[in-house]
């Protein structure tokens, strides 16, 4: 270590110079402040009094939601909001005691609201800076607007601004898909630090899931105002322009959606319908009935409106297509058929004898046809929905094999549709009985599962996924509702981003075996005595399966329509068309609808007629050139 000696004095001298420079500097600063605060204080006090700066938010336009062809489902409309600047109000009250009371009395009369309510609205925004305008009353009508504007000079703290209001053009239409918006809650603020109290964001449906795309970015500007609240000028270099949200093109087809909804509405049915394209998972229609009006939900709701919504026994908010869990009944039979063929426990020619009932594991099980079907092979069994045949498959496969096959068709899991709140349902296994139910699995329960009863619970979208996989040769696509996102780039040009299809599973099955299943489903619709005979459309090769899910165990043979509504069976119809190179899957589910063939199938028929109307008009031959060439390839 080198200890310094020579220049200690020189260094100390320099340090002293430095110190005196610091003292001098501080003295100069103190002197300057004295000049500003002591000598010129009065002048600056005056400036401070007249200094009024106001921050005005420029709300971003929320993105539009359109159908697959560009028809607008949701847009924004101007609506009038009464704004108040509380710092102005406080100042006016100071110079003119009683002003605040007068203003409240005026508003109470003009807007027909109790004075106490207006008082509450003023104090609601305590956490927002006081010089920022806050919304007092929303959705003023024209009369109220002119009333307030006429008294603008008497009450300068008030103003009326135009804000975009979310508008669902067709009220209840596609409500469960579109969802609705609402004000941010404290939980939202914790999740996203960019949000502020009172910001509008998606609460359900597409509005929620795609909120980041739709929301856009609010802008703001700083205005200098005089003591009467009149704008003098804007501080332009602080201006932040609002950025509009991005537009979403749905996969939904407007006409198809409307037709399906009308069917439920006209027949006063509770239930759901899903139409999707088996080639890519695009959902063309998704109905859940009854529906709600998102326009009502997107306003600030009065407490009595909430009570009314919550007391509705039909659970309007429930999206039955993805959140309703039901027994699949006979629509589960194709899963059994595919599993049995793939696992090799039967061939297409294996036959079982149906005598109307059979005993499995010491319990007697009945076929729906008491007289029995006689010797039945697989295709025939699908056509006439013979229970005994599928009981036998269940006994041969065992519940765990059935479960693993069902899971590859999205049963018991979430198919990751772009909506929130999907319920996975339940596919029972021996492990489930042991771990969750704390009991052992009874083999006889497997027999119930074979015809879609027992603890098995599915949602209608999963049935649609299954049908799509049967239709397209075994691929399970992720079902989705948004097809394209449209945004503007820096230069204002439109940019389109397509949502890519995504494969969830590829099921293991031999194509020939799958053709047997398809053929059975085709015969169910198109051959006499097929259970879905009523759904046939001449010229259109629909393949499908009806289902009837029992709500309570029927000890006696009572016809379902004679039972009280809530005990009636649920009706299913799951289908695709055309049989070769299918383009559309339709699943219809009617709660307490009775029999699938008579209650659910007609809607499917209507949807097919609408979708294929052009081709049906052209002469009924649906084998397009594309499908013909595919068929040739397969022959080779």
């Amino acid at each position: 270590m080198k200890v310094y000696r020579d220049d200690q004095r020189l260094l100390n001298f320099r340090i002293n110079v430095f110190m005196w420079l610091i003292i001098l500097g501080i003295a100069v600063l103190a002197g300057s402040f004295w000049y500003v605060q002591g000598v010129h204080a009065e002048r600056f006090r005056g400036l401070s009094e007249s200094n009024r700066l106001r921050e005005i938010s420029i709300p971003a336009q929320r993105g539009l939601i359109l159908d697959r062809n560009g028809k607008i489902f949701v847009d924004n409309r101007p609506s009038y909001t009464l704004m108040l600047v509380r710092s102005d109000l406080a100042r006016l009250e100071q110079s003119d005691p009683g002003h605040r009371e007068q203003m409240i009395a005026f508003l109470s009369a003009a807007l027909d609201l109790p004075a106490s309510d207006i008082e509450k609205r003023i104090t609601r925004h305590d956490e927002v800076p006081r010089n920022r305008a806050v919304p007092l009353v929303e959705e003023l009508n024209i009369q109220q607007v002119s009333e307030v504007e006429a008294h603008r000079l008497s009450f300068p703290a008030l103003s009326v601004t135009t804000v975009p209001r979310r508008h669902y053009r067709y009220s209840t239409m596609a409500a469960h898909v579109l969802g609705y918006i609402g004000e941010s809650t404290p939980e939202d603020l914790d999740r996203d630090p960019d949000l502020q109290m009172g910001d509008i964001l998606g609460k359900k449906g597409i509005e929620l899931v795609y909120d980041d795309y739709l929301r856009g970015i609010d802008g703001n500007r700083l205005m200098i105002v005089d003591s009467h609240g009149q704008f003098l000028s804007e501080i332009e270099d602080t201006r932040l322009e609002a950025v509009s949200g991005e537009n979403l093109y749905l996969t939904i087809d407007f006409d198809l959606q409307r037709r399906a909804e009308q069917y439920f509405f006209e027949n006063e049915m509770v239930g759901t319908a899903v139409a999707l394209d088996p080639r890519n998972g695009e959902i063309l229609a998704l109905v859940s009935s009854p529906a709600f009006d998102p326009n009502v939900y997107s306003k600030r709701l009065a407490p009595e409106t909430w009570r009314l919504i919550l007391s509705n026994s039909f659970k309007v908010e429930l999206n039955r297509a993805i959140q309703g869990l039901y027994s699949p009944g006979s629509v589960f039979k194709p899963v059994m058929a595919m599993a049995a063929l793939e696992k090799g426990v039967i061939t297409a020619d294996t036959s079982f004898n149906c005598r109307g009932q059979q005993t499995f594991f010491g319990r007697s099980f009945r076929c729906w046809k008491r007289g029995g079907h006689g010797d039945v092979k697989l295709e025939e069994a699908l056509k006439i929905s013979c229970d005994i045949y599928f009981y036998n498959l269940g006994a041969l496969l065992g519940v765990d094999t059935i479960a693993s096959y069902a899971k590859s068709l999205t049963f018991g899991e979430r198919a990751r549709i772009d909506l929130a709140g999907e319920k996975p349902g339940l596919v029972p296994t021996t492990a489930w009985a042991r771990d969750v139910q704390k009991r052992s699995w009874y083999p006889s329960e497997t027999i119930s599962v074979s015809i879609g009863q027992g603890p098995l619970l599915v949602n209608p979208l999963q049935v649609a996924n299954m049908m799509a996989a049967i239709a397209n040769g075994g691929v399970v696509y992720r079902p989705h509702l948004v097809r394209e996102i449209e945004s503007k780039d820096k230069d204002g040009r439109l940019v389109h981003r397509e949502i890519q299809q995504e494969v969830l599973h590829k099921i293991e099955i031999d194509q020939k075996a799958l053709e047997v299943v398809r053929s059975g489903l085709w015969r169910a619709v198109n051959e006499i005595h097929g259970t879905a005979w009523s759904a046939r459309v001449p010229g259109l090769d629909i393949a499908g399966k009806t289902g009837t899910a029992q709500v309570i165990t029927q000890e006696t043979w009572t016809k379902s329509q004679d039972l009280p509504y809530r005990f009636r069976d649920h009706a299913w119809f799951a289908s695709f068309a055309p049989k070769d190179n299918p383009e559309l899957v339709v699943v219809v589910f009617v709660e307490h609808g009775g029999h699938g063939g008579s209650e659910a199938a007609p809607l499917a028929t209507e949807i097919y007629r609408a979708w294929f109307s052009e081709r049906l008009a052209r002469g009924g031959n649906l084998a397009t050139r594309e499908s013909l060439s595919n068929r040739e390839e397969r022959v080779q």
Binding site: L11, I22, F33, Q37, N51
Partner: protein
């Protein structure tokens, strides 16, 4: 390590003054933000302070010679971080002076300052000439020049300017012969117009023009200064009182909890408040210089001098900018302004000064 007797010898006057200033800072930050949308600012500042004081212990109790011996490596780390920022900034086409580490983000330039000060002190340990020769000038020039260049190309002129006091301190305390002064002045005279024409962005030129005539455009670049001046002036001698400042709470004053925190002081506590806080700074700086005088060795003295020059520069520029004596730059006020990196930086600086003070009588 040092015994408990040495701990008791810690200069509590000096440390206490720094902490007192930081507490005043928290009070002002609270007053500046309580009415705004984000009221958690003061809580974050307190967390930074507590964390900073805890971390400072390392810089107090580990002998500063350890840091001096590591100074080359530390300086290298500082330069590497700045280099990384630059390359990464180039890759993302963004101006960034922050590095994100999980939830924490920090400005490497703040730490580069301390590391550069250490490197300079280390250099002067072995250079005890009365005046610097050309080789010495080059050494100093490189040590300071590389980090400054890396900050300039970010580009962040404001932060680069905060290295000026280091250059001044090195030249003044290292000693410069008159003819070098002449050369230095000539370089500055040539460099300034060149920089004005080629280096400064229009908004930076605008700031300097507005500084020369702030009332020229009260709503544009001069807006901040006008608002700060109105806030300070309207405070008068006694001030409007705690939380009563309308300029600040009504959000007329931009950056009021960071760069313009002193204006909040001026508005709410008046000239008396300003006078007391300036007095505290003076008291702090004079004590620090006393540490430099009594330092055991040349490197200790130079370390203290470099760190003091930083504090002086920040205080002078920031306070002077409040009433428009110098152009508005993003330079925080030591211990008072809100901000994690700068709070840590100044606490560490004080810790190192205390470190030198603790060891003035210790035999090594």
């Amino acid at each position: 390590m040092l015994g408990s007797r040495t701990v008791l010898r810690l200069d509590f006057n000096l440390f206490g003054t720094a902490i007192l200033l930081a507490v005043i800072g928290c009070i002002l930050i609270y007053s500046a933000t309580w009415a705004s949308a984000d009221t958690s600012v003061v809580q974050r500042q307190i967390i930074w302070l507590v964390a900073g004081i805890a971390l400072s212990m390392v810089f107090i109790f580990v002998d500063y010679h350890v840091f001096l011996d590591m100074s080359g490596v530390l300086w290298g780390i500082g330069v590497a971080l700045l280099l990384y920022l630059w390359l990464w900034g180039k890759a993302t086409a963004n101006v960034h002076s922050w590095i994100h580490l999980g939830p924490v983000q920090f400005q490497p330039s703040e730490f580069a300052k301390i590391f550069t000060a250490l490197a300079l002190a280390k250099y002067f340990e072995s250079n005890d000439r009365a005046y610097l020769d050309l080789k010495g000038l080059l050494m100093i020039g490189t040590t300071i020049g590389i980090p400054v260049a890396l900050i300039v190309i970010q580009p962040d002129f404001g932060t680069a300017a905060t290295f000026l006091p280091l250059i001044a301190a090195a030249m003044f305390f290292g000693g410069i012969k008159p003819r070098y002064w002449v050369i230095a002045v000539m370089i500055v005279l040539i460099a300034l117009p060149t920089a004005w024409m080629f280096l400064l962005k229009p908004y930076q030129q605008e700031r300097i023009k507005t500084f020369l005539d702030p009332e020229r455009d009260p709503l544009g670049s001069g807006y901040q200064v006008m608002q700060a001046k109105i806030a300070i002036g309207s405070g008068g001698i006694t001030g409007k009182g705690f939380r009563e400042g309308t300029q600040a709470s009504l959000e007329f004053l931009p950056a009021r909890h960071t760069d313009f925190i002193f204006a909040v002081l001026g508005e709410e506590f008046g000239f008396i408040g300003v006078f007391v806080v300036l007095g505290l700074y003076l008291f702090l700086l004079v004590q620090c210089l006393q540490v430099a005088r009594e330092a055991r060795d040349r490197s200790g003295a130079f370390l203290v001098i470099c760190l003091v020059s930083f504090i002086v520069f920040h205080v002078f520029i920031n306070v002077a900018m409040q009433i428009g004596l110098v152009p508005t730059t993003g330079i925080p006020l030591p211990f008072l302004s809100y901000g994690g990196s700068s709070t840590l930086m100044f606490l560490f600086a004080i810790a190192l000064i205390l470190n030198v003070d603790l060891r003035k009588l210790v035999n090594v």
